[in-house]
């Protein structure tokens, strides 16, 4: 009977070895897989999408906010009447039958059909009580002022992963700040899928996007857009733009360009409209550049206001090119004040020749021409000068009156502002402060980029420009009682190696009131047809806006 003991012992040993072996298999070999399966059964990882930051004008009004929208999804496995579902969704959501049909893949449990559905539409769809469909709440961009300042704010589209991404303007420039950080929350569920309070973990939460506080004055922006729209219609122009800056700190008060687009439905517009022409389009500024050249020569001490132009009695010939005045009128021995007043091209050739190529390039660079203004908007173009060796006598002469050189409107506006603030070149800016998700505000100080001319030169140039408004071609449209400094610009458009004789870019740049400038404004009309001259198109539009601005700021007439 002795064998029984070893037999029982060995049997138990084998049994326990098998049990231990099996336990080893489950606990060690299969541990990771089983743990994952268990977690997937009771753990729920919730993706916490951050809310994109708002963009607020100087009065705190959000011109770009977020609204509730819905994503309609479908579970194809639960669809009973496929045809009815396809036709109903197609007609309600205004999408093609083929598009809905292709989404109903039988082996999928969740298929998105359409996003951006508003609450009203959602209720309408819910009333039909279609089986297998559901809604996921999301936030979408909302523009309370519709397409106002569209070029300035840009729009939110999708990147290659289908995630929200800002394009153009502020949305593009400040995308990382606006979009915030995605977070994850882990939640344990019971057998019925209900959350278990004791095991909630919110440690991996992200943060909502920050808000942008702009220097843009909503009322001025609105007013500018209305006036520009009316102006384009009135003067039969192809398009136009207006930029208004506070010369004290470089704050952009309004920036408007037309034709424009609606950021809410950007996909319905041509892509060429997305770019903000005020910072991306280059053009030959024409006579609006004359004050910059004149101020450079005055600052360098090469001329004074009373310097006589000894070549102004007729057209001049430079390197086989005959240069004329815009109206073929010539003023013998005219002084520098009158050169600007008459917008005398020959007078400016005289000034440019006094300045010389090296000084010309040096001063233009100091004024920020040929360099980025560093404005906080996406897509600024920086047209550079041609190489020093490629400057010929005729280039120097034509640059004197603003032809043969390309700049962007924002460059001109920034450079011109130096006359209004004692010679300082400021960095233009649209955002004055950031506000994080907790409401903490971080102010951004104004930045002075340089001092291209002395305060004295700025004052002299201002008086020359006041004289140009009082006695120049646009005097008929000036505002009575206000001292306004300004200059017209009727620029020819280069086409295939020559200038188009029938179309121009008409512009007017100026600031007011002269004694304590509140704004600097540049108005540009592209190819106006009622008249090709700025004095008859851009200038009246400038003064029309200026009149309302002076009234808005409560500035009384000084004379």
């Amino acid at each position: 009977m002795k064998w029984r003991y070893p037999f029982v012992f060995i049997t138990f040993l084998i049994f326990f070895t098998l049990v231990i072996g099996r336990l080893f298999y489950w606990q060690i070999v299969k541990a990771e897989e089983l743990s994952g399966m268990a977690k997937s059964q009771y753990n729920g990882v919730i993706k916490v999408l951050p809310r994109r930051g708002e963009i607020k004008t100087s009065d705190g009004f959000p011109i770009v906010a977020n609204k509730v929208s819905y994503l309609l999804y479908i579970n194809p496995t639960e669809v009973k009447d496929k045809n009815k579902t396809i036709y109903t969704l197609s007609s309600l959501l205004d999408i093609s039958i083929a598009s809905v049909s292709s989404q109903l893949i039988p082996d999928r449990l969740w298929v998105p059909i359409k996003s951006g559905i508003d609450a009203k539409k959602k209720e309408e769809i819910e009333k039909i009580k279609l089986p297998a469909i559901g809604f996921e709440e999301r936030y979408a961009r909302f523009y309370p002022e519709a397409s106002t300042a569209a070029h300035l704010v840009g729009f939110v589209g999708k990147n290659e992963f289908g995630e929200d991404k800002g394009y153009f303007g502020l949305e593009g420039f400040y995308d990382r700040l606006l979009k915030g950080k995605e977070g994850y929350a882990v939640e344990l569920h019971d057998v019925l899928g209900r959350p278990i309070l004791a095991k909630r973990n919110n440690n991996a939460r992200g943060s909502d996007g920050g808000n942008l506080l702009l220097s843009i004055d909503r009322s001025v922006q609105f007013l500018t857009e209305q006036k520009l729209k009316d102006g384009i219609e009135k003067y039969g122009a192809l398009g136009g733009m207006v930029g208004i800056m506070d010369p004290a700190n470089g704050d952009i008060i309004a920036l408007s360009s037309m034709p424009s687009f609606a950021p809410q439905k950007y996909w319905e517009y041509d892509e060429s409209l997305y770019k903000n022409p005020f910072i991306t389009n280059t053009y030959e500024p024409g006579s609006t550049l004359k004050p910059i050249i004149m101020a450079s020569a005055l600052d360098a001490g090469l001329i004074t206001t009373q310097t006589k132009c000894n070549i102004c009695s007729g057209p001049v010939r430079v390197s086989d090119y005959d240069l004329h005045t815009w109206n073929d009128k010539y003023y013998k021995d005219t002084n520098m004040i009158e050169v600007i007043q008459h917008s005398d091209n020959i007078g400016m050739v005289f000034v440019a020749q006094k300045l010389g190529v090296d000084r010309m390039i040096s001063y233009l660079t100091k004024f920020g021409i040929g360099k980025s203004t560093d404005i906080d908007l996406q897509g600024e173009t920086v047209p550079s000068f041609k190489a020093r060796s490629a400057w010929y006598d005729v280039d120097l002469a034509t640059t004197g009156f603003g032809q043969g050189i390309s700049i962007t409107p924002i460059e001109l506006l920034t450079a011109f502002s130096t006359f209004a603030n004692g010679g300082k070149l400021l960095q233009p800016r649209v955002v004055t402060a950031f506000e994080n998700a907790n409401g903490e505000v971080l102010r951004i100080p104004a930045k002075v980029k340089g001092t291209p001319i002395s305060e004295k030169t700025a004052k002299i140039m201002t008086e020359i420009l006041v004289n140009a408004v009082e006695k120049g071609e646009a005097q008929w449209t000036k505002l009575k009682g206000y001292r306004i400094a300004g200059k017209t610009g009727t620029a020819s458009i280069p086409v295939k190696g020559h200038y188009d004789p029938n179309s121009t870019i008409a512009s007017f740049i100026g600031f007011a009131p002269v004694d304590a400038p509140r704004f600097v404004m540049l108005v540009i009309l592209e190819k106006p047809t009622s008249s090709i001259y700025a004095a008859e198109t851009a200038a009246p539009l400038f003064f029309d806006i200026a009149k309302d601005l002076l009234s808005y700021y409560g500035i009384p007439p000084s004379e």
């Binding site: 906010a65 509730v68 309370p144 569920h189 019971d190 209900r194 959350p195 309070l197």
Partner: protein, 95 residues
Amino acid sequence: MKKPILIIIFLIGIIISLSIVKVIVYNGLSTSGVYVGKVEEEVNFYKTQNAKLLEKLLTLSSLTNIAEKAKKEGFTNEGNLLMVLKTSKPLAVRP
């Protein structure tokens, strides 16, 4: 009884009582998931309502909307507008 045995009994007692407390608390909390779910649902509902109201508020207080309404009421700079009075008599009648 000896001291170590007392300590062991005391510790075992604590372990048992804490385990019982844990079971009771977890039991209570396990059913609160339903309540939490409802509260979260309610919070989300109010958040959504808030967002919808804000959308309405911003739309109504936008300059675009105000300008449109003002124009309808006759506040305009346009000089060539013809105003039609719906009343049978002029507003001011000479006595």
